[in-house]
Amino acid sequence: MYRILPVMLFLVSAALLFVPGCGKPQPQSEEKKVMEREAWKETVTGRTGGGETADKYASQRFEMVSIQLELRGIRDSRVLEAMRVVPRHLFVPYEYRDDSYGDTPLPIGYGQTISQPYIVALMTELLGLNRNSKVLEVGTGSGYQAAVLSYVAGEVYSIEIVKGLYERAGSDLKKAGYAGVKTLHGDGYYGWEEHAPYDAIIVTCASEFIPPPLLSQLKNGGRMCIPVGPPFKVQHLLLVSKSLKGEVSVEMITEVRFVPLVRAWE
């Protein structure tokens, strides 16, 4: 028997290679996605609550604002205030929570990232918002950018196509006290016609082009901002402005992450 067993196993393993359909790939099953999401929720809600740890991170947040933002030239007081107030750690996966206020993007699952604080602040500042502004965000992601926007602007609408992210961001926004942000699960390509036009549009999902329908949903005098670059490496920002007459102009705010580098290069 002991002689036959290994030979049998060898043959069975070899036969496995030819089982039809055995190697067919499948997208991640919905059930697994739900399980992952639940596990994530538990880690966020179970171990820490917003209030309990708020103080723990407050000093880090203030330090982040003064070192990463003010020194780099973010001037808008509303934006700086928002960055001091919004608890970034509540939008970051549990295992990275202690790194929340570092000068770096962090993974949030689904191949997406939460941007580096400086980029969030810079984009918000570039949009030139006030309390009455109506903003559309394409790509809710972690929900952090939407939370910052809602602190600065009047109305914030945010679309996310990845269902897992949409559900998680929605619940995190609620938990962190930003229930005013309206979220939608859908294709950001077409914008959110129902609430158009917008004073500002921010496209935070990885996009290799700017969907033209968004431009028609931007008010005259409005601004649209898009970060460009591979994951973890935003390289420049595009600022699209519509004049009061409706003329469109594009500006490249380059070398976002590498400001000192390129200054030296120039």
Binding site: R3, L9, F10, L17, K24, I161, F209, V228, K233, M252
Partner: protein, 807 residues
């Protein structure tokens, strides 16, 4: 029995090495093949040392050790593969997640274990058999192991091929057991076979085949309703076609486009480089968005001139074919390197794509674009090289060391010569920040025109940018004022900008896409000026024009750039700028590890051996380095001739190994002749020198031959040096066998150590100095090895043998 053992072990060894490269590029990045080869060589080097140190024990328990190793080998291949696949490795996040350094180290360690065990089996086998025979079995096995994954890769997923390799790695222990027939051995094997069966089962499971979540295909599969419509395999990559809600690609699309981009299917190559398949029902109104891409420019210009014959390089999902047909071009020659893409587009995606690949006006050629241009005798009104790689890959620098013969000075010349008198060559590329590759493309076009003695090259060039892409046009005749007026209209309608056109003034730059300093315009005019050399040399990135001798389009690294990494920290500098620097960084620990693990233990306590054989260290070092300094450039050179990196790698590696194996069988008889080794090394030197200076010319004559004849030519060309390259190693070993026994393993270790280092150094030298220099260095290595080889000892042995025979 031992020969069989060596054959199958070597086959599994090389099969594992090649398959792991494929697995890694499927799951993570596709540019770490040099690390995997390094691990393989490091593993074998360390095994030589361990055996040398534990020599007496091994001699005493020879078969027991051998059996234990044959058990460890499949255990490591199976276990190492499964465990490493389960590690949460993510090279993308290495800049902020320090734990990734740990994961990646563990990953490569696990991956290196089978190389250690496999090479130990071969090394131990060498102790009982004459080196020439065992070496031949080793090389034949490696040859077979190298060819197998290539043959299977047309039909199997890399993970499936890995399962086959794991099963092959199991064969040596079966061979031993059939020979000894011991009950205890059967029990060991039974336990092991359970592990193997489990690993084969796992590797065939789809959910085990995880792809990095940062690869574009993972992003697409997260979208609602995502499904893989079809999947096929090729030696180049796993090709998946994905369909999902919201999946679109519009690279270089104008903000002003009144036309919508429909939901598309996307073809992914190893989960990356998406190529869109646009749905087409015959109604061109639905695909009008194509006219608002920057890459529409050449079609826009030629459309009014009256479209003619067009050549499209790399049509992929067929977007350029649609453009050409919509603009009325006829006939359309499309050159697609990947035969599987053609099959996919003609079968599963035919209906979806409006049968664009089956259109009567389209003639498809399954070949590399550059080789096609060299072989073709047609003239074209338009040659279109659309964007081939993805923005993510381009910007994150994963291509850094991939050679590309498509973007070289000679390539532009080849395409230019295929143009009609009013013809246009169009190249579209992503614009990265800070701009580098578009400068390199422009510099390549300028250099190419200058070398062809085209008067006033600036009048033949024109470049237009969208927000993220640039389309460069090279015209056979100077652009006219009418052309320029039309280009201006094209740009204004689409919010694009002219980056450069003949007669352009600085205040016309960056009109629609505002930026500081008209940086691109100033750079382009500098490249056209008399001081262009100065500009290129003073530039922070390497923007010099790549040529066929140094075809590294994606390498932008200059040592001067190090100061920024020192000043601002690694995380602040885009990876693209790093170029070959990672290789230099890898080289340092590799030298340290291989010295401490391979050479140091051997040097310690064996000073006597070294002192007695002064020739040993330089000899084995030089032949190890020489082998890789010939192998690497040969593989790279033949890519252009055979039109495919896969054919080149498969043919060269297998031919080199097999003919070296044959050579090794003759090593004893060659040694018996006077000054045999020196003559042998001289032959290698002469042939290599001849190849260094005549291969390009030879290929330009033979490139018109059909593929199989070209493969035969390559085999012939490889066979000659390979035969002689197979001789020095066993010759040196057999010399030692007759003298100091413990120095045998030392020689093995020296060879291993220098193999590890030379594979990396050869790559660095190729990037910095070009292939010719690498080949010339190989000549120097082999010549020195021939000189230091102690013919005196051979003569002594010969005399001794003849005396023995007489008595």
């Amino acid at each position: 029995m031992i020969y069989g053992l060596v054959f199958f072990t070597s086959a599994a060894f090389l099969g594992y090495e090649i398959t792991f490269t494929r697995v890694f590029s499927f799951a993570q990045w596709h540019n770490l093949s040099s690390v995997i080869i390094t691990m393989a060589l490091l593993g074998s080097g360390v095994s030589g040392t361990v055996i040398a140190v534990r020599r007496e024990f091994i001699v005493r328990n020879y078969y027991r050790t051998l059996f234990a190793l044959t058990l460890l080998f499949p255990l490591f291949t199976a276990g190492g593969f499964i465990l490493s696949a389960m590690l949460p490795v993510n090279p993308y996040s290495i800049s902020f997640s320090v734990i990734q350094v740990f994961y990646i180290s563990i990953y490569f360690f696990l991956m290196g274990l089978p190389f250690f065990a496999g090479s130990a089996i071969v090394c131990v086998s060498f102790m009982k058999k004459p080196p020439s025979g065992a070496y031949a079995a080793n090389l034949f096995g490696s040859g077979a192991g190298g060819a197998l994954p290539l043959v299977l890769s047309y039909h199997m997923h890399p993970y499936g091929i890995m399962a086959v390799v794991i099963l092959i790695s199991f064969i040596p222990s079966f061979i031993l057991i059939l020979y000894f027939k011991k009950k205890s051995m059967w029990i060991c094997i039974s336990v092991l076979s359970a592990v193997i069966a489990a690993s084969v089962f796992l590797s065939m499971r789809p959910d085990f085949r995880r792809v990095s979540e940062y690869k574009p295909v993972s992003g697409a599969l997260n979208l609602p309703g995502a499904k893989i419509v079809s999947e096929t395999y090729s030696p180049l990559s796993v090709i998946q076609v994905v369909e999902a809600e919201g999946l679109r690609s519009g690279s270089g699309l104008s903000l002003r486009s009144p036309y919508q981009v429909p939901e598309q299917r996307m073809i992914y190559f190893d989960g990356d480089s998406p190529s869109p398949v646009t749905p087409f029902s015959g109604n061109t109104d639905k695909i009008r968005y194509l006219t608002f891409l920057s890459s529409w420019l050449p079609y826009y210009l030629k459309k009014e001139d009256g479209p003619g014959r067009v050549l499209i390089i790399g049509p992929g999902g067929g977007e350029s074919l649609l453009k050409a047909l919509m603009a009325g071009f006829e006939p359309v020659d499309a050159v697609e390197m990947n035969s599987r893409v053609i099959t996919l587009m003609k079968a599963e995606n035919a209906e979806f794509s409006g049968n664009v690949y089956l259109d009567k006006r389209v003639a498809l050629h399954n070949e590399d674009g550059r080789s096609f241009a060299r072989r073709s005798r047609e003239s074209y009104d338009l040659i279109d090289i659309p964007m081939i790689d993805a923005f993510n890959s381009a910007a994150s620098g994963v291509y850094a060391l991939n050679e590309s013969y498509l973007y070289t000075v000679e390539s532009f010349r080849d395409f230019y010569r295929r143009l009609t008198p009013r013809g246009i060559l169009s190249v579209t590329r992503w614009i990265t920040t800070p701009p580098r590759d578009i400068l390199k493309i422009f510099s390549t076009a300028v250099t190419s025109l200058e070398r062809m003695n085209v008067p006033d090259p600036g009048k033949h060039l024109l470049a237009v940018r969208s927000v993220q892409t640039m389309t460069l046009l090279v015209s056979a005749s100077p652009f006219t004022d009418n052309d320029i007026t039309r280009v201006k209209r094209f740009c204004d309608e689409r919010l694009f900008d002219i980056v450069y056109c003949p007669g352009m003034k600085i205040d016309e730059a960056d009109k629609n896409i505002r930026q500081d300093n008209a940086l691109l315009y100033r750079s382009f005019t500098a490249l056209l000026s008399a001081r262009s050399r100065e500009f290129i040399e003073s530039h922070e990135s390497d923007i010099s024009a790549p040529d066929d001798n140094r075809p590294y389009f994606y390498n932008f690294f200059r040592p001067a750039f190090l100061k920024y990494i020192v000043q601002y920290g690694a995380a602040q500098v885009p990876v693209t700028e790093w170029g070959y620097l990672p290789l230099v960084i890898i080289l340092i620990p590799v030298v340290i590890i291989s010295f401490t693990c391979i050479l140091f233990p051997l040097l310690k306590g064996r000073k006597r051996v070294v002192a007695a054989n002064r020739w040993l260290l330089p000899y084995f070092a030089f032949i190890a380095a020489g082998y890789f300094f010939i192998e690497m450039p040969l593989i790279q050179k033949m890519i252009l001739f055979l039109g495919s990196p896969v054919f080149s790698m498969g043919v060269i590696i297998s031919a080199l190994l097999v003919f070296s194996g044959i050579g090794s069988l003759f090593s004893d008889s060659i040694l018996r002749r006077g000054r045999g080794m020196l003559k042998c090394s001289l032959v290698i030197c002469i042939v290599t020198m001849f190849y260094t200076f005549s291969l390009d010319f030879l290929f330009s004559l033979l490139v018109y031959l059909p593929l199989y004849t070209r493969i035969a030519v390559v085999i012939l060309l490889t066979a000659l040096p390979a035969f002689f390259m197979g001789i020095p190693f066993p010759a040196g070993l057999s010399l030692l066998k007759k003298g100091e026994d413990s120095s045998l393993s030392f020689a093995w270790g020296v060879n291993g150590f220098f193999s590890v280092i030379s594979i990396i150094t050869a790559s660095i030298c190729a990037v910095v100095y070009g292939y010719r220099t690498v080949l010339i260095m190989a000549v120097i290595f082999y010549f020195t090895a021939g000189v230091v080889f102690p013919e005196r000892i051979v003569d002594l042995n010969r005399r001794r043998n003849s005396l023995k025979n007489k008595t």
